[in-house]
């Protein structure tokens, strides 16, 4: 969902329609984005703990992730490969009763998080593998372009949501946790705290979610409703043109960036005025993050590669673009 949002925002900036995206859609984008961030962090912690032998933690956290994914599946129809955000809004409103379900899931997730926290954070076996391993200093983090939890673990307080607010993030009260030593444990701790901060944002967003449309009212941008498409020639043509010819974006270029699960997720798009981007380059955060492994791994034990690489949270599909 974070990728969905990042790309849509980039295209909307080129189209100069950011301000016309309905408020409800912007809130919904924040909500699904923060859920995605939580699932990302949960997966990272769960998998890393498992790789260090703590299989119980894996079950606790992955179960929580599954509850959250079920919610995303309910809005987007897909468990993992979500396609819910559209240029100009989101494809459909939240299903009836969905916010209540999310509140319920968040409460359950807090319980799982508490259990994991109790079992892991002060566990000597876990701490021995994490503390002081894979240290990155703040200057290196800035120099290598490290962002997200990895960058923040070094004390670099950079979060796109705070430093360059987009959507309606400036309306929510949340903190950006930072580390001090930049080791594996700091990266773990930052992620744990970010989950709680995302929950704070979600609770505020649910509380202030405005009513209204969920996609821009512009037939040259938004697809008409399916019933209209099947029953009127006007909507049929609009649908046909948008699907087959694409959404025509005025010539120009844009670098638009958001806070992804692993850090600054950037989209650089060049439009030549046609319905397809002339160039579309993604800045995947973990591509930059992984690059520093070359510097921090030498000198460590082979066994240290496991938690260090785990805490970098390299996602193949994100890194390889």
């Amino acid at each position: 969902m974070l990728n969905n949002v990042g790309y849509a925002l980039a295209v909307e900036k080129l189209l100069e329609i950011e301000s016309k995206v309905p408020e409800r859609a912007q809130y919904i984008r924040v909500i699904v984005g923060e859920i995605s961030r939580i699932t990302d962090h949960l997966t990272c912690i769960a998998a890393s703990a498992m790789e260090l032998g703590a299989l119980t933690i894996f079950f606790y956290l992955i179960k929580a992730r599954e509850w959250l994914w079920e919610l995303l599946e309910e809005v987007s129809g897909a468990r993992l490969t979500h396609s819910y955000v559209r240029i100009g809004g989101v494809v459909a409103d939240l299903p009836a009763g969905w916010p209540a379900k999310l509140r319920d899931v968040l409460a359950k997730t807090r319980v799982s998080m508490r259990d994991a926290d109790k079992l892991l954070t002060n566990n000597k076996i876990f701490r021995d593998r994490m503390d002081g391993i894979g240290i990155i200093n703040k200057a290196d983090a800035a120099g290598w372009g490290l962002t997200g939890p990895v960058g923040r673990s070094t004390g670099l307080a950079y979060d796109v949501r705070k430093d360059h607010p987009y959507l309606v993030y400036d309306r929510f009260d949340f903190d950006v946790p930072i580390g001090s030593t930049g080791d594996n444990f700091d990266r773990y701790a930052v992620r744990m705290e970010e989950i709680y901060q995302s929950m704070r944002i979600l609770e505020q967003a649910l509380g202030t979610l405005p009513e209204g449309p969920t996609i821009i009212n512009d037939p040259r941008v938004a697809l008409p409703k399916k019933t209209e498409t099947y029953n009127s020639i006007e909507a049929m043509i609009a649908h046909f043109k948008l699907i087959m010819d694409g959404l025509h974006v005025p010539p120009g270029e844009i670098y638009s960036f958001t806070e992804g699960g692993n850090g600054e997720l950037g989209f650089y798009i060049v439009s030549d005025g046609t319905g397809r981007p002339w160039k579309c380059r993604v800045r995947p955060p973990c591509f930059a993050n992984v690059a520093i492994l070359d510097k921090i791994l030498p000198g460590l034990f082979i066994a240290d590669v496991v938690p260090t690489f785990g805490m970098m949270n390299m996602i193949g599909g994100e890194c390889d673009r």
Partner: protein
């Protein structure tokens, strides 16, 4: 100063959207506005036809006129002040589109025109509002078999009358007409008529929507999957400019390309079916002694046969083809003069056929003029060839194309054929080498007026076929002569230096990248 010998400049000054411009006197207002960048949509106007002003899309405001005026119907006048984009004009345009769409069927998913449809484009550009009508649409006849090549869908027709004018003004065959009135008005054939004039498929090209579709093309390919390659029709000596519309090495249709000097906007129906031969009955692999052989082995054997022919006291003959490009002809002419040193050359091609005074020529070969001007030796004809072979004075033959020739080959000691197609001569040949067809090579044709026109390869030749000039160059090599021909434009450059009739010809820019026919790249 204006005198009788030096009349005043024939120009008028017109203000278009607040900017003053100078146009030639008598110019059509729509064309004038377009030429200075004003965007005006239209359905019924066509640069090659008269303007009936029926679609009302091109309405503009002219200062002093009480009502908006169809710009396609007006000629520019001095001090005219035109507005093409005022709120009133835009509103009228939108309303006219709403009317046009009122009874238009929801056919885009099954309509062949979808993707190159003017109605889709104009609706999206100038209207883009959702439907307001709630009643049923007026139903009309679908799948009306109006002619040999054409199917009519009366529901899709937006009554622009372009097709009627094509029949009347281009084909001079008034076969179509409008019947009934208002919402019930339909396009139909005139009483007792069918739409089957030799130019009937131009109606499909000019149709802004999918009312008239080609039986040959419909439901074969969505248009945005096609790539357009500029070329020249090989169907007759007129040499109409065309576009090859192909996808993955297969041609789906040939359509005319604007060329004011030759075919304007049109081409004949017969020419459109020339593409079928590109994919039928092709010679794909070289053969030697009746057996499949590698290209190199076949060329070596061909060289040996020609060598023996040369040694056999002037019994070697070479047959040129009126269907081959200037480049192939030039390469063969050089082989004849520099390697084979024969005097006995022939030329053959397709038999003459019907003609008219519109576009169709009696000579069904695309490059007779080119061959006659490039080959410096006296060209003997098919009759000479038949009698020379029968009398035994020619015992070895090198033939380019012409695989369909009916020739008694029993007395030939050697027959080398370079051909794109199978045929009786390919069966009889001692060595047969497959060559590329006109759709697969970069080259030029010379039409009957001596105009040298460029053709472009739409896709590579099939199987082991190669451009004929390339095989000829290899053959020359085997015979100990280096023709130094590296690429098609090398051959062309050499022709330009050598032949006076080609001195002004231009190869043009490097073959353009194929253009996907996405929403009117070249059509609509």
């Amino acid at each position: 100063m204006a005198t009788e010998a030096n009349p005043p400049a024939e120009t008028v000054s017109v203000t278009v959207d607040g900017k003053q411009h100078t146009f030639k006197k008598g110019m059509n207002l729509l064309e004038a506005c377009q030429s200075v960048g004003a965007k005006i949509p239209f359905f019924c106007y066509h640069p090659g036809l008269s303007s009936p002003a029926v679609c009302r899309q091109c309405l503009v405001e002219i200062k002093g006129s009480p009502k908006p005026v169809p710009s396609c119907y007006v000629t520019v006048a001095d001090k005219m002040e035109v507005t093409t984009n005022s709120p009133k004009v835009l509103d009228i345009r939108r309303q006219m589109l709403e009317f046009t769409l009122l009874n238009h069927p929801i056919d885009c998913p099954i309509c062949d025109k979808a993707g190159e449809c003017s109605l889709q484009r104009h609706y999206f550009d100038w209207d883009a509002k959702l439907a307001r009508n709630e009643g049923d649409k007026v139903r009309k006849a679908k799948v009306v078999d109006v002619g040999k090549h054409i199917v009519l869908d009366q529901e899709r027709c937006i009554l622009c009358t372009r097709c009627i004018r094509v029949c009347n003004e281009v084909a001079k065959a008034p076969e179509l007409t409008m019947a009934n009135r208002g919402s019930h008005e339909v396009l139909t054939t005139a009483p007792g008529q069918r739409l089957d004039n030799p130019y009937s498929l131009n109606t499909v090209d000019v149709c802004p929507v999918g009312a008239l579709t080609s039986k040959d093309f419909r439901f074969t390919r969505r248009v945005w999957e096609l790539a357009a390659t500029p070329s020249v029709c090989p169907g007759c000596a007129t040499g109409c400019s065309i576009e090859i519309h192909s996808s993955r090495g297969k041609i789906y249709r040939l359509v005319p390309r604007e060329n004011q000097a030759v075919n304007k906007f049109w081409m004949c129906d017969e020419g459109r079916f020339e593409y079928k031969a590109v994919h039928a009955n092709r010679l794909l692999f070289p053969s030697s002694g009746g057996k499949r052989a590698g290209v190199d082995a076949a060329v070596t054997e061909a060289a040996r046969l020609l060598w023996s022919g040369m040694a056999d006291g002037g019994s070697l003959g070479v047959v040129f083809s009126f269907a081959a490009t200037n480049e192939d002809t030039h390469a063969l002419a050089r082989l004849v003069s520099e390697a084979l040193k024969v005097e006995r050359v022939y030329a053959a091609g397709k038999a003459p056929g019907w003609s008219d005074d519109i576009l169709v020529s009696a000579d069904k070969n695309p490059n007779r003029t080119g061959v006659e001007r490039i080959v410096q030796l006296p060209l003997r004809n098919l009759k000479d060839l038949t009698s020379d072979v029968a009398s035994g004075s020619v015992r070895t033959l090198l033939v380019l194309e012409n695989s369909a020739l009916e020739l008694d080959t029993s007395k030939l000691a050697g027959l080398v054929l370079l051909s794109s197609h199978k045929g009786p001569l390919a069966e009889a040949a001692h060595v047969a080498l497959p060559v590329a067809s006109w759709a697969e090579v970069d080259g030029t044709f010379t039409n009957k007026t001596g105009r040298v026109q460029r053709i472009n390869a739409a896709f590579p030749p099939p199987a082991e076929a190669l451009a004929a000039w390339r095989i000829i160059a290899t053959l020359a090599n085997k015979l100990g002569v280096d023709l130094k021909l590296g690429s098609a434009d090398d051959v062309f450059a050499e022709e330009v230096r050598r032949y006076p009739f080609m001195k002004d010809a231009d190869w043009g820019p490097p073959p353009a990248q194929l253009v996907q026919l996405r929403f009117g790249a070249s059509r609509g």
